[in-house]
């Protein structure tokens, strides 16, 4: 990853020894280096990582794991793709509405299961109430909540990855916001 980045250009340093500059313009950043080995490896293992994430998410009720862990592992797929193929090209394939929908649907699932507790004769988030609806109701509602958690976590982590990877151009941001006003 960044270990292999070229040593920073001495001209970038602003002359103060031992002090770094707070932000570095995009032109000075180490460029994305295309590597056949990394691309091939990621292409091969990405489906398996995504499967592992889904497994950890869905199997959290019966073994170690759960929504938080599974969501992070699932989001790692996107992170790996970003490192292998460049963050901007991957970001171009994603749409903000999809990510936002992912996050909101996860929160919504949790809340629906929570408020559904009232309608099956219990309290907020009382999953045992779902036993009256169908067999093993509490188990499946717990699974559903775990999937909701996983979806929220994976969506937010993917979003953070792209925000930090593409978004912190201080100069460009300032001119943008001033143009907006």
């Amino acid at each position: 990853m960044s270990d292999s980045e070229p040593a920073p250009d001495p001209a970038v340093d602003d002359g103060v020894d031992g002090e770094g500059t707070l932000s570095r313009p995009a032109s000075d950043r180490p460029p994305y280096v295309e590597s056949t080995i990394i691309m091939t490896t990621v292409r091969v293992i990405a489906p398996f990582v995504l499967t592992l994430g889904a497994f950890v998410m869905l199997h959290g009720a019966s073994s170690a794991g759960g929504g938080f862990q599974g969501g992070v592992i699932a989001a790692t797929t996107v992170v790996m793709l970003g490192f292998a193929f460049g963050i901007e090209p991957i970001a171009a394939h994603l749409r903000n509405e999809h990510l936002a929908l992912l996050v909101l649907s996860g929160v919504g699932t949790f809340l629906i299961v929570g408020f559904g507790g009232y309608f099956v004769g219990g309290n907020f988030l009382q999953v045992s109430g779902y036993e009256t609806l169908f067999k093993d109701g509490s188990k499946y509602s717990i699974e559903l909540v775990e999937v909701g958690i996983g979806v929220v976590v994976s969506g937010v982590i993917t979003g953070l990855f792209f925000l930090l990877g593409t978004g912190v151009d201080v100069g460009a941001d300032d001119s943008d916001s001033e143009a907006d006003r």
Binding site: M1, G18, A61, G65, V72, V103, L125, F162
Partner: protein, 178 residues
């Protein structure tokens, strides 16, 4: 307190990587050392038979946090003139003070795995261990407690994760993730 060899090795590794993370001048090296420390913690949880926590630590602490740190540090320029951070007398004293203060609480803790600790002998944990499967149908007690018994806490955690995404958008003054 008995210390098994694997646990001792992992603790040594954690100590070394924590020191490296603190004194390395190169920020990328420091981040990698920090990831190694997190990985050591994850292995320690696994050795202490807490696989749920170990999985979380490995995925979040060692994995995604490192990636986010590296992405952030790629946005800054750092000179690498010296190999190690100079340690001033004041910061050394502060470290010693913190270590003594925190270390003073260690004798108050029960030994690892002692049978009389509240975690093992307390009514609440015994109640969960006895009734979790019957009441929720979930074999992993951790999940049963997280969602079945303490669902409201978990809803709060999800709200925190959600807020982290929104806060990042606000800080970077953007309206879209990608």
């Amino acid at each position: 307190m008995s210390l098994s060899v694997p646990v001792a090795v992992v603790l040594l590794f954690m100590l070394g990587s924590a020191l490296a993370a603190a004194v390395l001048r190169d920020v990328v090296g420091s981040i990698v050392a920090f990831a190694g420390y997190s990985f050591g913690v994850a292995v320690l949880w696994a050795l202490l038979r807490a696989p749920d926590v170990a999985l979380t630590e490995a995925a979040v602490g060692a994995g995604i946090t490192t990636v986010l740190f590296l992405l952030t540090i790629a946005r800054t320029s750092v000179s690498r003139s010296e190999r190690f951070e100079g340690i001033s007398l004041r910061s050394g004293l502060a470290v010693v003070a913190i270590v003594v203060t925190v270390g003073a609480t260690v004798p108050a803790l029960p030994p690892v795995g002692a049978s009389g600790t509240p975690v093992l002998a307390g009514d609440v944990s015994q109640y969960y261990l006895t009734n979790a499967y019957d009441q929720t149908g979930v074999t992993n007690v951790v999940t049963a407690v997280l969602v079945g018994y303490r669902g409201f806490d978990t809803l709060g955690e999800v709200a925190v994760v959600f807020a982290a995404g929104v806060a990042m958008l606000l800080v970077l003054r953007r309206e879209a993730f990608v």
